[in-house]
Each structure stands twice: as C-alpha cells, then as structure tokens.
C-alpha cells in the first residue's frame, strides 16, 4: 500500500452519486440544432474559419486557435452552419458569446482522420496535434492541455490523473473510468511520454470501487502494450471533499504541497483529469478531435444518467432525456458545491460541462437568512487551504482588501466547504469572489495608471531632450564656424585633418545609436 497524506479540513456532504450510476453511459440522440461556442476553453477564443451557409463535416475545424493559450473548435457533426453570431452561453457573467450554429444533416459524415503513433513524433508535434484537436481539461477549468504539456526545462517525475470526482452528484468520470478504463490508461501513457514523467498515479476516491477495479484491470491488460506499465498505479484515496482539488490531490498522493502562487510543475508534478486522458488517446490514436463528452444529468429528474453528448447540444434537449420533474425551477451546471446556476436551459453543452443538476426548492432549499459570524471557526476546521475564512469574510465585508490579501485571500480555491458548515449561513465564498474581483479590478486600474504615468514621463523626457539637442546643435554650429575662422587663418596639417574627420564621424554614429536606443525605450513592444 502506498503511503497517503492528509490535507487540512474537508467535509463529507451526502454524495448522491448512486442515482446516476445505475445505468451505463448512453449516447444522447443527435439534436436538431447545435450551438458551438468558439470560446469554450481558458485563454483566447478560437477564430471562426467558416461562414454561415457553409457545409461542414463531422470533425471539421471551424474555429482556429488564436493566441498562445487557445484551442481549436470543431463541428461536432456534419451539417450546415446557419449562423456565426452572439448566443447565450453558460458563463457566470450571463453575457452572450460568439457561437456557430450548426443544423445537422443526420449523415454523421466524418472528415478524414489521421491517427498517429505518438512514439514516432516529437513532443512539440504532439502538442500541436492536441491543440488542433481542441483537447482541453475536462475537469471543469477547460485549460488547453497542450499548454500544460509545455513544461520547458522542468523535470516532471509524477503524472497524476485526477479521477477523484469529489463533488456530490457528479459521476461522469466514475462512469468513464468504469467503461473506458483502457482508453484512459493509454491516454495516460501518452501524457506520460510527452512529459517524460517517471510514474503515473491515478487518484480515485475510494467510494468508486468499480472504477478502481476497471483501471487496475486495464493497467494489467495493457501491460504488454505499455512498455512502462509498472509505472502506472491506481491510488484509492479517502473520500473527502475537496479531495479532487488539484493541489489537495497532489498533497494526498505525494505528500507535497504546491507552493502558494506556483504551479504543480514547479515541484515536478503535473495533473490531468481522467476524461482528458481519454480524449488525448482518441485525438492521437484515432485522430479524433474533441467533439463530445460525458455529462451527468441528475437531481430532480425521473431517471438520472450519464450521456455521451455532442458539444453544442442545447441543455434543454439533454434534460428532456432524463425527464425533469414538474417542480424543477432551475438548473445547475457542475456540482452543488462549486457549480453555477444556468442563465437558461437553452445554453449549449460545452467542453467544461460535466454535470447538469435539475434543482428544486425541495432539493436545494434556499438557506435561512444569514446571521452574524460568531467566530465559531467551523470554517477554519474545514478549510483545505488552511485559511482563516472568518477573518477573510470580515475583511471582504469591510472592504479591507489589503488585509484580505495579507491573509492569503488568493490561496482560497472557492471550494465552498466554509459556506457548507457555517451555522450562520453566511455566503462566505460569495464574499471572497467579490473581494478577489475588486482587487483584480483595482490592480488593473493601477496598471493602466502606471502605464499612463510612464508614458507621460517619457514624453516629458523627450521634449527635454529635443530642447537640449537643439541647443547643442546650435552651439556646435557656432563652434564650427569659429573653428573655420581659425582654420582659415592657420591651416591644419593633413594628418590633423584626417583625425578631425574621423572624430566627427565617430561622434555622429554614436549619437545615432543613442537615438535608436532611446526610441526603443519610448516605444517598448507590446
């Protein structure tokens, strides 16, 4: 048995996972319309490369990655693009975003796929393939996976696959691990190859014995295929929320703490979600871009289940499959701890959608009115980041943002454990989100002001310099005139003359270099 470690705090909310694990993953039927957002990932949105009226094939690129942190977007099925316009998407801001609307033709005609043997490609080539296959983290953050594989000179010893799935209700990773363990394990080996990591540890909470068994079996079965199979290991970790937080998972499995403000790669660890590993496998071994994912439909529904869903499927069609009960009054994307309320059930499923919970007042009763904080420190007891939530709340509430930062506000992972246990029912996480966004806004303003100030200073300097140069030139001309007068009276020797010319030329070139350098300072790139 591997030695496991603890992280501080954590909670045990009712898991409510069994409802959606009774049936296997079903394929959601082809919807009548797909709305594919071009910004489904962290970083820059993809640039649309198709127009309304274009016919596209399944898997055809429709959004080109634009910028360093960006990812491709593909047509999830064959059909006609009817519009590229702003549509409502699942985003906390509730603002619309650029989407491609696709009416499927029902033929599911594939674009030509190019499977590759990852062992015969360089890491850089594989990264580019993943970027163009639109592979992003499927755990929720949707961070482009190729960026996470660009580790530079850092040495990665441990690749951790995150199969913890600690949030209540969500079971998409659980079902994926049960049914597609082989693909996950092969994807993990590909990721390990690209990172040149020495070991692969798949962390799964011990409330998923079927998934753990399936993965173990897949590792054994693939032993001959995977040269490095003995480096793969499934690690059953204790079920405690938020054990699936990347930093918490790394801590539990390796005992290491990712230093505040640093990345896992700084301590030789990289972390991917199990579903991402599966997608990496499909992208390389089959050449398939990311077109669909598994989504849990659960909560206040007749039949909770997991579905393989095409990206862009309107969630309303998905919810209809499970049959939301009549008293359903809203929908949550994600889990009950960190999920977000959906602005409308008409928004499309995206790469980051892992779960849709139909909610009712009965299922998630509104919290009683908040009482004052009595500093009982139940929040401190459960905080997985070892923070003092009651102090952060105080600072956020009194707008003492500087103090909040001193008390490590930005180490808060917004897991919601503090709010969960608060006997005063204070929406603590909301306060932290508010404080963080205020601080970010202020820092942004300060940056702009600083830029303006620097620009102004350079402007002043330039005016000053120009004045000075004018005066110098004038003085030089006068001096030259005087020298000429003197020369006419007393001619220079030839040698003296050459020396003087060389001197003047040298000075002229120096002045030129200075000027060029100065202008570069004034107009720095970016």
């Amino acid at each position: 048995m591997r030695k496991l470690y603890h992280f501080h705090g954590g909670i045990h909310p009712p898991s409510n996972k069994t409802q959606s694990t009774r049936a296997a993953i079903a394929h959601a039927p082809l919807p009548t319309k797909l709305i594919v957002p071009l910004h489904q990932h962290a970083g820059e949105a993809a640039k649309p490369i198709v127009q309304a009226g274009d016919h596209v094939l399944k898997g055809q690129l429709i959004g080109m990655p634009d910028g360093f942190v960006s990812s491709a977007v593909h047509a999830p099925t064959s059909g006609t693009i009817t519009a590229i316009d702003m549509q409502l998407i699942a985003h906390p801001s509730g603002l619309p975003n650029l989407c491609a609307t696709l009416i499927p033709d029902g033929k599911e005609e594939w674009v030509g796929l190019k499977p590759v043997d990852y062992r015969s490609h360089s890491t850089a080539e594989l990264q580019q393939l993943l970027r163009m296959a639109g592979v992003v983290g499927l755990g929720g953050a949707a961070f482009p996976s190729d960026i996470k594989l660009r580790i530079g000179k850092q040495k990665i010893t441990t690749l951790i696959l995150n199969g913890a799935e600690c949030e209540p209700y969500i079971t998409c990773d659980d079902m994926l691990m049960r049914e597609r363990a082989a693909e996950i394990v092969q994807g993990a080996e590909m990721l390990r190859f690209m990172l040149d990591a020495t070991e692969v540890l798949i962390g799964v909470e011990d409330n998923k014995p079927e998934a753990i068994a399936a993965l173990q079996q897949a590792i054994t079965a693939n032993g001959r295929v995977l040269q490095q199979s003995k480096r793969h290991e499934v690690v059953a970790i204790p079920t405690i929320y938020p054990g699936g937080g990347a930093k918490q998972l790394i801590r539990v499995i390796t005992g290491l703490e990712v230093p505040s403000g640093k990345l896992p790669t700084d301590i030789g660890v990289q972390c991917f979600n199990v579903a991402t590993a599966c997608t990496v496998y499909r992208a390389l071994a089959h050449g398939e871009p990311l077109l669909s994912r598994v989504i849990t439909i659960t909560g206040n529904v007749r039949q909770a289940q997991n579905y393989e869903v095409l990206i862009g499927t309107p969630l309303a069609e998905l919810v209809a499959l499970s049959g939301a009960l009549p008293d359903t009054d809203r929908y949550i994307m994600g889990g009950p701890m960190m999920g977000m309320p959906l602005p409308s059930v008409l928004v499309p499923a995206v790469k980051a959608t892992n779960c849709i919970i139909a909610a009712s007042a009965k299922l998630f009763p509104p919290p009683p009115p908040a009482m004052p904080c009595i500093r009982c420190t139940r929040c401190v007891d459960v905080c997985p980041a070892d923070l003092q939530p009651q102090d952060l709340y105080w600072f956020a509430q009194s707008r003492e943002f500087g103090r909040a930062q001193v008390f490590s506000l930005f180490d808060c992972i917004e897991c919601g454990a503090c709010s969960y246990v608060c006997p005063s029912h204070i929406p603590l996480v909301q306060y932290y989100r508010f404080a963080k966004s205020e601080i970010r806004a202020r820092e942004h303003d300060k940056q702009l002001a600083d830029q303006a100030r620097v620009r102004h200073e350079y402007h002043e300097q330039r005016l000053e310099r120009e004045k000075r140069e004018k005066a110098d030139k004038l003085a030089a001309r006068e001096k030259a005139a005087q020298a000429a007068k003197l020369a006419s009276t007393r001619p220079l020797t030839t040698q003296q003359q050459t020396e003087q010319t060389e001197q003047t030329e040298l000075e002229a070139s120096r002045a030129h270099i200075r000027e060029v350098a100065q202008s570069e300072v004034e107009h720095p790139e970016g």
Binding site: K247, I267, P336, M338, P372, I374, A385, V421, V429
Partner: protein, 342 residues
C-alpha cells in the same frame, strides 16, 4: 440570490447555543440539589431580563428582533451570569447585571458576534465592583447554614428583601469556600487546618465541588458534540493545575492543592463555558492555548494574591482584550506556505 454552494449542513447559531444551554443543566441540577431552588429563580429572572433588554436594544438599533431573540445567545449570557452571582440576592442585582451585560457589553458593541468582551463576565464585573456586599452573601449548602430557608422564604427575600422572623442575613448565608480560605490564611492558619472546616468537602467547598463536577460533565458533552475544541479547557485547567501545583509544592501550608482550585469558584464553568465563548476568544488553536494559559495564571494570581473572592471573571476580561493581538501573532501557515519554498 442563488449561488454555490447550494447545499449546507443543517446547523444554526440557535442550535449551537441551545446545546450549550443543555450542557449547563447537569451543573444547575446539582446546584439546586445542594443549595436549594433559589438559583432557578435567578436564572428565570436573568433570562427574562436578557430577552427583554435584547428586544429593546434591537428595536432601538433598528434590527430585526425575532431572529435574534431566537438565537438563544441572550439566554446563554443570562444563565452564565445567574450562575456566577449569589442565588439569594435581591432581584434587582440580577436584573441590573443582566441588563448591563446585554445592553452595554453586547448590543452597544454591535450585537451577536461583535462583542469584544464576554457579556456575562462584564455583568459580573459591574456587580462585584458596584455592589460588593450583596455579591458576597452566598447561600449555604444544605445542612451547613444556621437556618435553612424554604423556597417561599427565599422568594420573599429575593423580591421583598424580608427574612423570616429571628433570621439575619448572616445566618442564612456564608462566604464562599475560596473567600473563607483567604480570610483564614490571613489569620495565619495553615491550609490543612482550614480545610477541616465543615464547609469543605472532598476536594473543595462542600456542594460547590459537586456543582463543578456537573459543569465538567456538561463540558465533556460540549467537547464530544464538537461545540468547543479541547484547547481552551485543557490549557486552562492544565495551566491552573501546574501553577497551583508549583506553589503548593513550595509551601503546602500556605498554598492549597491544585484540585481545590479546579473545583472552586467558577473555574470549571470558566474552562468549558465562559472562556470558550467563540466570539470573545481567539480563533486560532495556538492562540486558544495562550489565551487559556494566560487566563489560568490571572485566575490564580487574583484568587491568591488579589482582593476579589474569585478571579475567573477578571481573568476572562483581561484575556479578552488580548485576543486580537494573540490571534494576529498565532496565524497558522497557509497551504503552500509551510516550511521552505522551493
């Protein structure tokens, strides 16, 4: 508004306070058993005053009255104060103390969660400074007073200030065991001889020590129910034991044994119910240890070298002032900021 997390643990301030009130019941029951039902009268009186004052103050401060009256925190203050003052005291003593505790020490500081000082202890401090005479007349335990008053007689004294014929206040009340010890030590008697007096029981004062057992029992329930953490009671009782133990070892004739201090006065009540008030105690575990150890030292110094009969109230208040400083200097390391940074 609707935002994550959408689920929460079914708990509330009212329920926490209610559990603390329940935990006081064993101590109160033993109190009644040994000292008669007068304590129930002062608890009732204090409760009514606390709720009335709280409602009035909330109304004046333009705050919702009902949710705060239902949070049970005013009741807890009332009970703790009533348990700290002599049960056989004129009614206005309880009323003045409770009203001050709620109106000044709690509501004027901003109400629930905002008081710097433990309200019950502020109430106690006000009473012992303003009405020292009334605060020293403790009812004698069963079988020890010259005259034992019936419940009706007690009621008559509390509300009308009238004692039955041929009874004087001195005949029905007596000094506390702590006070008696101090007085007799001043007279030059050794500890051993003083403890032979009938008002002393096995460990400390007869009757009082049993009430302390009751509070200890209730305190263990609070620990088991995770209402309080072990830090304050353990550090308080531990430090008190060590400090008293050192003095006792040096001169057993002048300094009484540590267990006497545990089971006398408000030490047990303080360790589990007063110092553990979350609002006025530190939020860090290390801070709690320092806070409780400081309170233990002050309790001992005031009891043994000070002029007041007990030191728990002033020790609590003095340590309450230090809480912000203690908390500031005992911040535990945050995740990813422990030890060396790579």
């Amino acid at each position: 508004m609707f935002f994550s997390p959408f689920i929460s643990k079914p708990d509330s301030v009212a329920r926490i306070m209610l559990k603390v009130l329940l935990a006081l019941i064993p101590g109160i029951a033993l109190y009644v058993w040994y000292f008669g039902p007068a304590i129930l009268v002062s608890i009732t009186l204090a409760s009514l005053t606390a709720l009335g004052t709280e409602a009035l103050m909330l109304r004046l401060r333009d705050r919702p009255v009902a949710p705060f009256l239902k949070d049970n925190s005013a009741l807890l203050t009332a009970w703790l104060l009533a348990l700290s003052i002599p049960p056989l005291a004129p009614w206005w003593l309880v009323v003045v103390g409770t009203a001050f505790a709620i109106a000044i020490a709690k509501q004027l500081y901003g109400g629930l969660g905002n008081n710097l000082f433990n309200p019950a202890m502020v109430g106690y401090a006000v009473l012992i400074i303003s009405f020292p005479a009334q605060m020293t007349h403790w009812v004698a335990p069963h079988g020890l007073g010259q005259i034992e008053l019936g419940f009706l007689d007690q009621l008559e004294y509390i509300f009308l200030g009238v004692l039955p014929n041929n009874a004087t206040l001195d005949a029905v009340t007596m000094a506390t065991p702590l006070d008696t010890l101090k007085t007799h030590l001043h007279l030059g008697q050794p500890v051993g001889q003083i403890l032979d007096m009938p008002i002393y029981g096995y460990l400390a004062g007869h009757g009082g020590e049993m009430v302390a057992w009751g509070f200890l029992f209730g305190g263990l329930y609070l620990l088991a129910a995770r209402i309080i953490s072990w830090h304050i009671p353990v550090a308080y009782l531990g430090s008190l034991f060590v400090i008293a133990g050192i003095f006792h070892l040096v001169d057993p004739a002048r300094y009484v044994a540590p267990l006497f201090h545990w089971y006398s006065g408000a030490a047990m009540l303080g360790a589990f119910f007063i110092l553990t008030d979350p609002v006025s105690s530190p939020t860090t575990n290390k801070g709690r240890l320092i806070f409780a150890a400081g309170a233990a030292l002050l309790t001992y110094l005031i009891r043994v070298f000070g002029g007041f009969p007990d030191g728990v109230a002033f020790a609590t208040l003095l340590m309450n002032i230090s809480v912000p400083l203690i908390v500031l200097y005992t911040q535990p390391p945050v995740f990813g900021k422990k030890g060396k940074q790579p």
